[in-house]
């Protein structure tokens, strides 16, 4: 029999709360975390709204040690705080377990580029007449003006290194970056590391913040973001007919994943079991989803197979539900293909209606919401659901949370570029 993997610790930093309880409470209350961007002056950007993490201080989590992380970006700060919560929650913060058997597998985004330093450099070195950059001058100024520490922290493997180093975790250490599927994929592969015996515990999840001038510029250019600037809290409206793009969020989520016998031996509290992991690639186009939802169908079916479950066993689906025209339509179609008639009965909701899209961190935070729904028997709604779309005709738990006892929940994450991941969490049973 294969080794079973359970969740024994959880932590989050999100636009709606910096603890798992606070996040879940606001989800049940149907609050929106979206507002005007304050991290930088976005007043003239096509999109001026996002779900920002507010009132966050790393020192609240790490005390004096926060000083060691002066140069790190938001990404890494969120990750450190969420990791601290999860490890503490699991009761493994102060050792007592074999470090060599304790790995880290994260899906964290790249660090934030120093927009002002970088653009001001290029502005001085770009020659409009020849449409070229004076490279000698650029490199000369770059050496003088770029900040050594902050530049180093942009490398995408630094967050996972800081976490392993600070918390003393010496097992397998990975970071994957598959856009919006990253943290779900990290969790899935971490489960496999434990199943296959390469580790007994893995800290897994992700963190991301793209609410900075480059991030918002990039997504605005691709016309991917909602431009409902006049009504920030109404902008993220997955499955609603008038959805017009996603809303950026930011934050981190972390899980302590543990082999069941290991968790039992140390009498750890078990939140839930991860029973299913499915992954696939659309292999279709760079940003367009496959019109038949090919990849989404494959990964949901794969996760069910992995868990040994039938579609009717799933009591709740936490959708990818980005609030873009195409995603929500194709995801709905894919759910119908996998779940058949039962698709019309299974409650579905999108956490992104409230916290926006946490990109690399989206999957883990949404999985944590699934775990909390399993435990408390209350499913969070999709808020801002006002205008039915004939192509999105399933039960999206409109606007109000719903009481329902469930045994298994499925969470979807689909990445820009076509990577698709589905995870299934189940109530723990011996």
């Amino acid at each position: 029999m294969r080794r079973r993997v359970v969740i024994t610790g959880m932590g989050v930093v999100t636009p709606l709360g910096h603890s798992v309880d606070a996040l879940y409470r606001s989800q049940i209350e149907g609050r929106s975390g979206v507002g005007y961007i304050t991290h930088f002056d976005a007043r003239t950007f096509p999109t001026r709204i996002a779900a920002e993490v507010r009132d966050f201080e790393l020192a609240d989590y790490l005390g004096g040690d926060a000083q060691k992380f002066e140069d790190v970006g938001a990404n890494c700060r969120f990750a450190l705080a969420a990791a601290k919560q999860a490890l503490e929650d699991a009761g493994v913060l102060n050792g007592g377990v074999d470090r060599r058997r304790f790995g880290v597998y994260l899906g964290t985004g790249e660090g934030q580029q120093d927009f002002f330093a970088f653009i001001s450099l290029i502005g001085r070195c770009y020659q409009s007449e020849t449409q070229s950059v004076d490279v000698r001058r650029f490199t000369e100024l770059a050496l003088r003006e770029l900040h050594l520490g902050r530049e180093r922290e942009q490398e995408p493997h630094t967050t996972v290194a800081h976490i392993a180093e600070y918390f003393g975790l010496e097992g397998p250490n990975y970071n994957c970056l598959t856009a919006c599927a990253a943290s779900s994929q990290a969790i899935g592969e971490a489960v496999e590391l434990i199943r296959r015996g390469e580790a007994d515990l893995v800290l897994s999840g992700g963190s991301h913040s793209m609410i900075h001038p480059f991030g918002v510029t990039g997504f605005c250019l691709l016309t991917a973001l909602s431009t409902r600037n006049d009504e920030p809290t109404k902008a993220s409206r997955p499955f609603d007919a008038q959805r017009d793009g996603f809303v950026l969020g930011e934050g981190a989520g972390m899980l302590v994943l543990e082999e069941l016998e290991h968790a039992r031996r140390r009498k750890a509290h078990i939140y839930a079991e991860i029973t299913g992991y499915g992954l696939s690639a659309d292999a279709f186009r760079i940003t367009d989803s496959h019109p038949e939802g090919r990849g989404a169908v494959a990964c949901m079916a794969d996760a069910l197979r992995d868990a040994g479950l039938r579609p009717q066993d799933i009591g709740y689906i936490n959708a990818h539900g980005t609030s873009t025209q195409v995603n929500d339509k194709v995801e709905t179609l894919a759910i119908k293909k996998v779940f058949g008639e039962y698709a019309y009965q299974v409650p579905i909701s999108s956490s992104k209606s409230m916290i926006g899209h946490l990109i690399a961190a989206a999957g883990v935070v949404e999985l944590i919401i699934c775990v909390m729904s399993l435990r408390h028997g209350i499913l969070p709604p999709t808020i801002n659901y006002e205008h039915p779309d004939p192509e999105c005709d399933l039960d999206y738990i409109p606007n109000v949370a719903r009481e329902k006892r469930i045994e298994h929940a499925l969470s979807n994450s689909f990445g820009f570029g076509g990577q698709n991941v589905s995870l299934i969490v189940s109530r723990f049973r011996d």
Binding site: F116, S120, R124, V160, A164, E165, E192, A281, A283
Partner: protein
Amino acid sequence: MEPRVVITGMGLLTPLGWKLEAIWQNLQAGKSGVRRIQAFDPSALPTQIAGEIADFDAKDFVDRKDRKALKVMSRPIQLAVCATNLALQDAGLNPAQVDPTRLGVVYGAGLIASELEELGPAAKLTTNGQPYFVDLEKWGREGLAAMPPLWMLKYLPNMLACHVSILHNAQGPNNSITQGDVASLLALGEAWRILRRGAADVMLTGGGDSRLNPLSMSRLCLFAPLSRRNEAPEEASRPFDRERDGLVPGEGAAILVLETLEHAQRRGAKIYGEVVGFASGFDRRRSGAVLAQVIGQAIKNAGVHPEAIDHINAHGYSTPKEDVWEAAGLAEVFGPNNNRLPVFAAKSYWGNLGAAGSVAELAISLLAWRHGLLPPTRNYRYPDPACPIYVLANRWHESHKDYFLKVAIGERGHCAAALFRRWR
């Protein structure tokens, strides 16, 4: 029983060439791929040398019908896409003949720098000549419109594996490992795990990376321990040598075709070798202690006696610090002077190929098996007492034994080891 995993193809784009025969000939001739940077004027940088790929044009490697996507690929993506085509050719594998849902891609990738020219017009409009000043109001109003709309897509690290999946209809598992200089070996480990658990029949794995542009090189010069041996580029990358003074940046892509043995045999594929062991960890004190355990584990889970190992294909950064802890890890496993088990460091030929490095390096050992001879490590002249290992220099090693070990480390403490078995 879990499926066995074999390597059936390789595609390399390296500073020593891209045709496998040409790379081998260059190794035989003792050539170095390191030179003064020619991609741009490096004269203001303290490090002006690199392992550079000369005259690369992606159009030469990509079918006409697939060329539209090249416009949204930065150089590392193009390198990986082209090396993938070479790997499939070498494997004699037509992806159309594989079940698309059983064909996957796991690549290592690094941070990709924006091309400066794309930001030029917007930057010009919104800056005033002062450092750190950008008029954000103007950026939002006019700057955005001056930027190419697909800008961001060119630089997302998951786009290496994404484009490859699209071009070859690979609908199976797809992942992008962004773990610095260990990335491609970790990717290989994951691809191996995926095949072993039965989630695919064929996996493409490896990585692509290039830091040879003004922004990345400036950044590396700030925070990475680079060699400054600008007067003697070919002697600059000298892993484990006492006179080493830092690493030499490089660029490249290296892709392997991994298959279950059954799938490979069914289609009568030629086999380079078998992946038999893998382990990874984080050596947070950078002492070599965890590295030694990782190596031990990789050997142990392959069920192999260390004496069956032919040689070690080391990471060999050529930096004063990292070579010491890597050597300490090796010495702990294999004993002082590692019992004259030869250590080979491919970076001595072409520098650090970043996220493509480990797989490009281990490919040389696979080629060596085919030729029965392993090349010497270049530039190893003065043994360093701080690196008590047996580095093979000045002569070719007759490769008889059945296994070789690949080691990869990262400057932060990441480490991985994989064991390969010769196919007979």
